[in-house]
Structures are given as C-alpha cells and as structure tokens.
C-alpha cells in the first residue's frame, strides 16, 4: 500500500469528494510536489521548459503524489512573457501525462493569476476555462480577507473540483491562534464545511518555528477534527524539516515538497529526507522513494541549464523572520536590485522591510510582497540619494526610537517626526490603494494617521473620509464588459481570438498580445531542447532534431554572418534545405521600429496599403497638401507596385493635418502616409 501509482486503480479523477475521503480515512501522510511551479518560481525564476518538465511527468504520475503544483502563481505570466509557453497547452499536457495525479493551480484570490482585482464575471470566465485541466484550486489572499476568495471558491465548488483555501501565515504579535481561528471560521463557513477542502497553512516566507506550527495545527484540529491540513513551507530559514515534522505530529496530513535535486534555498524541503524522517517518526507516508530517485536523476541531467537563473544570494537565512519576504519574491528582488544597480543597498532594504511590516500590517505575499518590495526599495534608494549611508543610518535611528517609544508618533522630536513623514513620500499607487482599502480591509486595522499623512500629504484626512473603503471592495466592482474587452483585443491582434486567448488577455493584456505575436512569427518553440532554447546553435555543424506533429525535422547551423549593416545572416539547413535568415541586431530592430505605422483603430491615420513607391499625392486633377479638405473615400495618394496603381483613400472626411511622405518615397505596408483630422463633411 505504500507509495506507487497515486490514485490509480482505487479512485478515478473527477470523483473529488471521494478522493478527499480516501485521504482523510487513510491516516497516512500525502505529498504535493511543487517541482514544476513553485520550485521553479522560488529558485529558478520560473524558467523551466516544457522540454525538461515533460520528462518528469510520467515519474511524478507513478510516485504516489496526491497532486503536482503545476500551474498559476507567477508562472502563468512568465510562461507568456519569458517561456513562450501557452498556459492552456501546458495545463493540458500536464493533465494528460499525469492521469493518476491531481493537477494544482495557485490563485491570488480575486486577482487570480494577474495583478488586479477582477470582477465576478471575469473570474467566472477565467476559472471556467481552466476547470477542465486543473483539479485542485489553491487560493490565498494577502490580507486573509476571506470575501476575496469567495468568487473563486464558488466557481470551483460548483464545478465539483477541490478548493484549497490557504491562510497566509507569518509570525508576529498579532498573528495569534485566535486570529487564525477567526480566519478559518470564515473559510469553513464560505466552503460549507470542511468536507470539500484541503486547508493550507501558507508559510510562504518560511518563518514558522516548529513549536508555533505545531500549536497552530493543533488549534485548528481541536476546532475541526476532520479538517485536512496541508503545511506549505519554504525552506528559507533552514527549519522546514523540523517544522513539518512538528506539524505532522500535531495532525497535519499533507505537505508541499520538492525533488532533492531541485532543492535550493527559497523553495521547498527535499522530499526524500522528509519522507525518511516522517517514517522514522512512525508516520505512514504515501510515496514511492524509488520514483523519487528516478526524478532526481532526471533533474540532475538538465538542472544546470537553469544555473543562470538562480539567486545571487545563496544559502539559508534566518533574517527572513525579520523581513518576511516570500520565497518567490526573494531571488527576484535580488535580480531587480542587480539590474537596477543598487545591489549594495539590499541589506538596508531588507532591514527597512522588517520595520515596514510593523508599521503597515499585512502578509508579504503577492501582491503584498510586491508592494513591500517597491516601497522599501524606493525608500532606501531615495534616502541613499539624498544623503548616502549616513542618511540611511539616520532613518533607521528614527525608526528605532519610534518603536522604542511604543510607536507613539507624537512623542518623537520634531526632526524625527519630519523624517518619518518623508518616509512614504514616494508611495506607489498600489500602496495608496492598499491604504484606501481597495484590496480589502487590512487584517489588523488601518495604520496610524501619520502614515496616511506621509503617503497622501496634507489632504490625507479628506482622502480617508472620501475614498477609504471599510470592507467588501469586491461588491463595488461592476461586471466587466467582456464583449468590449474582447473587441479591443481583436483590434490589437488583428484577427478573431479564441476564448482561451481572451482569458490570457484578461489576466495579462500586454504579455498575451506579445505572446500571440511571437507564436505567429516563431511558432511553438516548446519543441526545442532547453539548451537550444536558451543559447541557439553555437558552432557550424551543430544541429537539433525536432518533432512537430509527429514528423521528424533537423535544423543544422551552417554559418553565422559577420553582422554587416546591423543584420546578421544566419544560414540554416532546415530538413536538408538551406535557408538564409536575416536577423536584425537589436540596434537595427529599434531603428526599424521608427517607421511610423498608421494605428489600425484610428480612421484618421492613413496607412500604406502595399509596399511600393508613392508616385502621386492627391489625384491628377488635385494635388493635395496639408490643410486641404478631403472627402470620405477620396484618393489621397497613389502607390505604384509592379506597374499597378493602388489608390490610398481616406476613410474619413476632414482636414489633412499631416502628410508624412513625399513623391517617390518607398513605403512599406501599414506605414503612416497622412493624418486626416475627421469632422468636416
């Protein structure tokens, strides 16, 4: 009965309530593998390719995992933006290749997989489109504001899938058992009991001490003895294994783990040590260790491809208990600091955060962690620019005095007060929205007045009165006009779009459009082996074998040109036939873009209908110039191509504001020829 085969044979997918019953009655410990999604996100910037992950799926399917965390979080965005993977295709592939394991997504309350709050109809459309391929819907809210989980919960429970509400966890004075029990009570009431859910304690920064976790699990089970609890824990501070053991002792039944070969510092604990430890403690664990060996061997074969994406900051760090930055955000903040040239400020920024989370209290997980990061990266850069290290030291001195004074702002000196009032002077809109309750009420109340003064300036009191939403921000959100949004997308893409494409656009408009354009130009690049995906072919004679639609192909590098005139000619043999590809070097590509294009949606902008030569502006009888009136449908220019004349007509009546070309100019299709200001009939 130990390990092997997952739910195979015993319970079929789709009978989700039965699956949870089996887990509940098994008395065993079950594991959820985070390899494809959260591990990738925490330690490898979400860059795992389908090519590599695909090899793990059959192993995972036979490992005895309850579920594989394979979707959502930041991966959906990065799939489109960096990996050029269609998240739907990925989800289908995972579902297909892991028939015995549940697939799991992570959603951020009403933000789903995006960064803004979505209206109910948008949530419904997005959830519906992924329901066929996703079994477990793990959902959290960075304010632990349960009403924000309601729309997703309703959709998922109605569809009969597994809803897995996650309570954002951290250690602080306010985060008492009583507080978490209050949140749990709301969750149980939202989900109509504990039968259809797996409750997650989401320790995303990895800060819970073993004793604290044991107490919390115990408190939850005292209240709801049949509750299935999963402890989600990043390894950041190095205490994950004992904390998990403590949770298991207290009755937690599920754990997030990763493959040993995937283990780094910000992801999840390695599966084999945990299983061995739990078994030594006398727990039954549903897991096949042999499969875990196999998975780690496979991973070691490809993991070096991703070395370049690992964090600059290596090793465990107990500082996390102060700054509380979650696993995924930690390495990416170092990356941003390096790109922005302020890596040396990182220790200060992390220290700043540990003050910040005592001033404005919420949980550091998306989007909260982004707000914390941008706020404090901004604060420290600003203070550094204004007065260097001494200025930063002064700021921290003031903050120390503030907390020593029991957070009583009025008891500080005038100078200290002034400094604190400058703290949030550069507040982002996200921080402002947070303080105005746009995400929901803060879990431990609104911050002190001086914070509002610092963020909003002199009009702060009126701002609170007029704009701060006390509760239920979602109820103020009107349904989105999806027809209109779809039309906007189609105008941008220039064709009709599928529902799936539209859902991607609803989450990340720019990334979705860019992704579709990429696909149009480069096809499905997930067929490429990882090395070729990252580095291309290096030396003449290097070749890559691909399979597309079941047919084999070979692409071989013949030569790469010198890069004359900003263009490199690359000669490839594609299926034994030579092709020359002209690759614009980045400078050239930027210069090319400068050809002004007529905006398709703007009827006043007249674009070239073909590639050719403008041989006449106006008509034979009427030469046109700027300021002239034109009728709707009047010929404005004529382009000659291969001896044919191609009239370019105005689609509006109006005044010619601008003529952008001269006679004999060669123009390319879509190039802006003239601007007509509409209005005059």
């Amino acid at each position: 009965m130990m390990g092997g085969g997952g739910m195979a044979g015993s319970v079929k997918k789709k009978e989700y309530r039965k699956i949870l019953k089996t887990v509940r009655e098994s008395k065993a410990i079950w594991l959820v593998g985070t390899g494809p999604r959260d591990t990738g996100q925490s330690d490898f910037k979400n860059r795992f390719t389908i090519h590599d992950l695909e090899r793990l799926l059959p192993v995972y399917d036979a490992s005895g995992y309850l579920a594989i965390d394979s979707h959502g979080g930041a991966r959906l965005h990065q799939d489109m933006m960096n990996n050029m993977i269609d998240p739907f295709e990925e989800a289908r592939l995972f579902a297909l290749r892991m028939p015995h394991v549940l697939t799991q997504t992570l959603v951020r309350g009403t933000n789903l997989w995006g960064y803004r709050m979505y209206s109910r109809n948008t949530v419904r459309a997005a959830v519906e489109s992924f329901l066929p391929t996703i079994d477990v819907w793990r959902c959290f809210d960075f304010l632990n504001y349960v009403p924000n989980m309601a729309p997703v919960a309703e959709e998922v429970l109605r569809a009969g899938k597994i809803f897995s509400p996650a309570i954002s966890f951290t250690e602080s004075a306010e985060c008492t058992d009583a507080y978490y029990l209050r949140v749990l009570k709301e969750i149980v009431s939202l989900c109509g009991g504990t039968k259809d859910i797996i409750l997650v304690i989401k320790d995303m920064a990895g800060v819970g001490s073993p004793a604290r976790i044991r107490r919390l699990v115990d408190a939850f089970l005292q209240k709801h003895p049949h509750l299935l609890i999963l402890y989600h824990r990043h390894t950041t501070d190095g205490l994950a294994l004992p904390a998990m053991a403590a949770a298991a002792e207290a009755g937690a039944r599920l754990f997030d783990v990763t493959d040993d070969a995937f283990s780094r510092f910000y992801g999840h604990p390695p599966v084999r040590p945990l299983v061995r430890y739990l078994r030594e403690l006398g727990h039954e664990v549903r897991f096949d260790m042999k499969r875990a060996d196999e998975a780690s061997e496979t991973i070691r074969g490809f993991i070096r491809n991703y070395e370049r994406f690992e964090s600059q900051f290596k090793g465990f760090s107990s500082d996390v208990t102060g700054h509380r930055m979650p696993g995924g955000a930690f390495p990416s903040s170092f990356e941003q600091a390096e790109k922005g040239g302020f890596l040396d400020l990182m220790p200060h920024i992390l220290k700043g955060m540990s003050y910040g989370n005592r001033i404005i209290k919420y949980f550091d997980v998306t989007p909260g962690s982004q707000i914390t990061w941008t706020t404090w990266a901004g604060v420290l850069q600003r203070f550094h620019k204004e007065g260097g290290e001494p200025n930063i030291k002064r700021l921290f001195g003031v903050l120390d005095r503030f907390f020593e004074a029991g957070e009583r702002f009025d008891e500080l000196s005038q100078a200290d007060q002034n400094m604190l009032l400058r703290l949030y002077a550069g507040a982002t809109d996200d921080l402002k929205n947070l303080l105005l309750g746009k995400y929901g009420p803060l879990p431990f109340g609104w911050p002190a007045d001086w914070v509002y003064r610092s963020v909003f300036g002199e009009g702060w009191a009126e701002k609170i009165k007029a704009e701060r939403i006390p509760s239920l921000p979602l109820s103020r959100l009107a349904d989105e006009d999806l027809e209109k949004a779809k039309a906007a997308m189609e105008a941008e893409v220039g064709r009709s779009v599928t529902q799936e494409e539209f859902v991607l656009y609803l989450m990340h408009p720019k990334a979705a459009v860019d992704f579709l354009r990429f696909r149009e130009r480069y096809g499905d690049t997930t067929v490429l082996p990882t090395k070729v995906w990252f580095d291309g072919l290096r030396r003449p004679g290097d070749q890559v074998r691909l399979t597309i639609d079941g047919k084999p192909h070979v692409v071989c590098l013949v030569s790469v040109g010198e890069g004359m005139g900003g263009v490199k000619d690359v000669v490839l043999s594609v299926d034994n036939i030579m092709h020359v590809f002209h690759v614009d070097l980045p400078e050239t590509a930027a210069a090319r873009k400068k050809v002004r294009k007529a905006a398709p949606g703007n009827k006043g902008e007249v674009g070239a209908t073909v590639n050719g030569t403008v041989w006449r502006i106006g008509t034979k009888g009427r030469v046109l110039k700027e300021g002239d009136l034109v009728r709707k449908g009047e010929e404005i220019m004529n382009i000659e191509v291969m001896k044919t004349e191609n009239a370019v007509k105005s689609s509006v009546a109006g005044v010619i504001r601008e003529i952008c070309v001269t006679v004999n100019d060669r123009v390319e299709e879509g190039q802006l020829l003239a601007v007509v200001e509409p209005g005059i009939e």
């Binding site: 860059r47 933006m81 960096n82 990996n83 050029m84 990429f518 130009r521 480069y522 096809g523 499905d524 690049t525 067929v527 490429l528 070729v532 995906w533 990252f534 580095d535 291309g536 072919l537 290096r538 890559v544 691909l546 597309i548 639609d549 192909h553 692409v555 590098l557 790469v560 890069g563 490199k568 690359v570 490839l572 594609v574 299926d575 036939i577 092709h579 020359v580 590809f581 690759v583 070097l585 980045p586 209908t609 073909v610 590639n611 050719g612 008509t619 034979k620 009888g621 191509v641 291969m642 001896k643 044919t644 004349e645 191609n646 009239a647 299709e669």
Partner: protein, 479 residues
C-alpha cells in the same frame, strides 16, 4: 520542311521557359534577352544563349524594340517569338521585325493593328458576322459616357482602347463615378500603353468569359481547338481557366467556332490566336476582342486537344500548311489551369516580392506545371506577378478538380505571398465545383475565399527562432 535557324524569345518568366522547350524539340537553338534583374532568372538558365537587353524596368529592356532587334540580329536569329505581354501585341514591333528580315512569330502587323484597336476590331468582326456588345467607341466626354450608360443600362465597363490583360479596366456602376473612373483609366492607359484612348461598353452582369483558340496558316486554312472558360477572375485578370466550358452545348460550340473560323479567314490571320466572348445568362454571346498572341491559359487547350500550340506557331510562322481539318480536331476530357501569382489575396491582391526561400514543385500523373522560378530566386518588383501555372487533366471536370486539389496541396512556395491558398479555396467552393461560375465569382465570394490562415510551415517558424538565438547568442525573451 525547313523551320527557323535560331529563335529569339523576347520575353521572360514562365512563358519564355515554355517557349524554349518546343524549339529544343525541333532542334532550333534559342536565344533569350534579359534585363539586369533577370540575369539569374530561369529562362536565362534554360536558353542556349542569352543577351542583356538593358536595365530592369521593362521600358528599358523588354519593351525596348531597338535593343531586342539588335540582340536578335547580333545573335543570328531569324525569328522572334514575343510570348504575351510586353511587345506581343505591338504591330510596330512586328513591322520592325519584318523590316529587319526576321520572322515575327504571330499574325501580320496589319491584322494586329486592326485587332489591337477595339473600335477597328469591332468593325471588322461585325462585318464578318460576329456579334459584339453595345459600345461607345471613342470617349472624350463624360456626359457622352453617361448617356451611353443610361441607354444600354448600368453598369458599364471602360478600358484603354489599346492593350489587354484588364489593365486600366474599370466597372462603372453609376453616372456619379464616371468622371473619376475616366480620368484614372486614361492615366493607366497612358502609363501602360503610351496611348490614352478610352473605350466604353456595356457590362454583362454575371457574364461568362469564354474564348476560342484557333490556328491559321498562310493558305487561309483556319481551325479552332474549342473554347476555354476564364470566368474566375480578379480585377479582370484571369486566375483559373478551364477547357471545355461547362456552359456550351456541342451545338453552340459548333456555332461559335464557325463564327471564329470565318472571321479569321476573312481577315487573313496567320499562326495562333484567341477570340474572346462574353456569354450572358440567356446564352447570347458577344465577341470582346481577338488576342493576337499566345494566351497564358493555352495549356488547358493543349491538354484536351493534344496540340502543342507554341510548337504549331513556330511551324505556321515558318510557312507550314495546316493539314488537319476541323472535323479531325478531337477534344477529350477536361483540363483546369490555376495561376500562381506573387500577390496577396487577403490584401486586395497587392503584389508581393522577395526571395523564394523554398519551392516544392508539382509532379505526379495528369498534372503539368509551367514555372519561371526556382528556389533561391528573387521575385523582382518590375514585372507581372505570374510565377507559375499548374494544370490538371481528367476524363471529366470532377476528376480534373480532384487532381488540381492534389497538385495545389503538394505545391509549396515560401518567401512571397501567393494565390495558392485562394486557389485551394476556389477548388473547394461548392459553386465552383458545380460549375456555377461567372466573372464576378471572386468578388462576390472574396470574404469566404480569403478566410484562410496564412500558413507558413511550423518548422520554418521555429527555424527562424533558432536563427535569431544563434545570431544573438542569447534568448532575449528569457533573460
């Protein structure tokens, strides 16, 4: 019998390649002329000799009479084959060839002059008993055109009196459009043919374009090889042609053929030509014009008649007598030709040019392809957009369509946009399959016919990505 010593082909592209082949069969050496951008074109590769005519623009090469005559003479040719387009229907050229003691492979300059002028041609044809459309034979006044339109009924068609191929031809639907269309037709006529005279005629709505191929010798023997149907057109340029027409009964065919043969005998036509008709819904036919040259679509007639029309033209021009009588002409089966043009059907058939990065030719039973291109060749922007013709033949129309679909499916060409996807759509269109076609077919069905996804082969897209990453040495998407 003695044919020619050496033939000069004053053309380029697929027709030049096509014309080289029968000469080769007859062991007649062939010389071709070429412009600068055509130095590496296929006709130059195939010919025995090649002579540079001049710079790329046609006016300085393929339309330069002096350059062509010099090239032909200097290379020792005694005959010039003009193909279609360029100088093919220019009587001055035919006359100049004769003056240089060479044979112009085509009818006499006199016949060309009559047939090249719509007004004179209509007179000559009418005199021989050929029905013609109501027309206005000389236009200088828009008001006159409006009166004509009101008399014969709108829409009407206006076009250049000179030239063919539909250039500058415009359908005018109402009096309000007359002025603008007239001006534009004039401009095109001047630009393309150096002659600005305009001709207006009644537009036969839902008319079918049917043309008769004929052969004639110097001894007043004329036979016809039946008709071709050319109703599938875009912008008045043919795209799909077939033989025979599903419209004609044997009786009508015989009647029309007799009209053609009589008129051409009367006028003294020699070699090969085509008389075009418009047939209206009631089966009434009107002669449109006589094309005094080889037609692009001659292939379909060849497929069902067994004649090599260009080979026959060489022989007839050399003075050979037609031995075959009309009753001996046997037409068998059905043939279809599709024109692969370098143009984008999705974008109003605008020309597309560039390098042909990949070419998979058509082969297999009962298909024929006539190409002027090869892989790696660059389609120049200076000339007609016809790249290739694909023809199929079968015992009946249905079989010919099935074979054409198969051929179009195999044919593949990358680097420029072509009419291939549109042609595939036409072959699948229920109206085309049922023979319910007319000259407005493409225009009426354009949305459905062009609702295809631009399909570049997936491997080629992925290879483009590999090329970019290999050139830059990094993946700029995943940094």
């Amino acid at each position: 019998m003695g044919c020619f010593r050496k033939i000069f082909i004053a053309n380029r592209g697929e027709i030049a390649c096509r014309a080289i082949r029968p000469a080769r069969e007859l062991k007649i050496p062939v010389v071709v002329g070429y412009s600068d951008c055509d130095a590496l074109s296929l006709h130059v590769r195939l010919a025995d000799e090649a002579v540079r005519l001049g710079p790329s623009p046609a006016s300085m090469s393929y339309l330069d009479i002096d350059a062509i005559l010099r090239a032909a003479k200097d290379s020792g040719c005694d005959a010039i084959f003009p193909g279609y387009g360029f100088l093919a229907e220019n009587p001055d050229f035919a006359e100049a060839v004769k003056k240089e003691k060479m044979t112009f492979i085509g009818p006499s300059a006199r016949v060309m002059r009559i047939m090249g002028d719509k007004i004179a041609a209509r007179k000559a044809l009418s005199a021989s008993g050929v029905p013609v459309t109501p027309a206005l034979e000389d236009v200088d006044d828009p008001k006159e055109v409006i009166r004509f339109g009101n008399r014969v009924g709108w829409p009407i068609l206006i076009k250049a009196s000179a030239g063919g191929g539909g250039k500058g031809m415009q359908k005018v639907s109402s009096p309000a459009e007359v002025e603008e269309c007239l001006a534009s037709a004039r401009s095109v006529a001047e630009k393309a043919f150096g002659k600005g005279t305009i001709f207006a005629e009644k537009y036969i709505e839902h008319g079918r374009h049917i043309e008769f191929q004929f052969l004639a010798d110097r001894f007043r023997n004329v036979i016809h090889l039946g008709e071709r149907e050319c109703s599938i057109q875009r912008r008045h340029q043919k795209l799909v042609e077939e033989a025979p027409s599903s419209l004609l009964t044997p009786e009508v065919r015989e009647k029309m053929g007799a009209v053609v043969v009589k008129a051409m005998r009367d006028i003294g036509y020699v070699t090969a030509g085509t008389m075009e008709f418009l047939v209206d819904r009631d089966g009434k036919f009107y002669a449109l014009e006589v094309n005094t040259r080889i037609q692009v679509e001659h292939t379909v007639t060849e497929f069902i008649s067994g004649f090599d029309i260009i080979r026959k033209m060489y022989k007839l021009a050399a003075g050979e007598r037609l031995t075959m009588r009309q009753k001996d002409v046997l037409l068998r089966g059905h043939s279809i030709q599709c024109r692969v043009n370098a143009e984008d059907p999705k974008n109003n058939f605008t020309p597309s040019f560039g390098k042909i990065t990949f070419l998979r030719q058509v082969s297999g039973p009962f298909v024929r392809s006539e190409l002027g291109i090869y892989q790696g060749w660059e389609v120049p922007p200076y000339y007609d957009s016809l790249l290739a013709k694909i023809c199929s033949v079968g015992k009946d129309r249905e079989t010919a369509i099935q074979r054409m679909r198969r051929a179009l499916g195999e044919f593949d060409l990358w680097g420029v946009r072509t009419t291939i996807p549109l042609l595939k759509r036409i072959m699948d269109h229920p109206d085309f399959v049922a023979g319910r076609i007319h000259t407005g077919f493409i225009e009426e069905n354009i949305a459905k016919l062009t609702d295809y996804a631009e399909s570049e082969e997936e491997i080629y897209k992925v290879a483009r990505f590999v090329a970019e990453i290999s050139a830059l040495g990094r993946n700029r998407y995943s940094e």
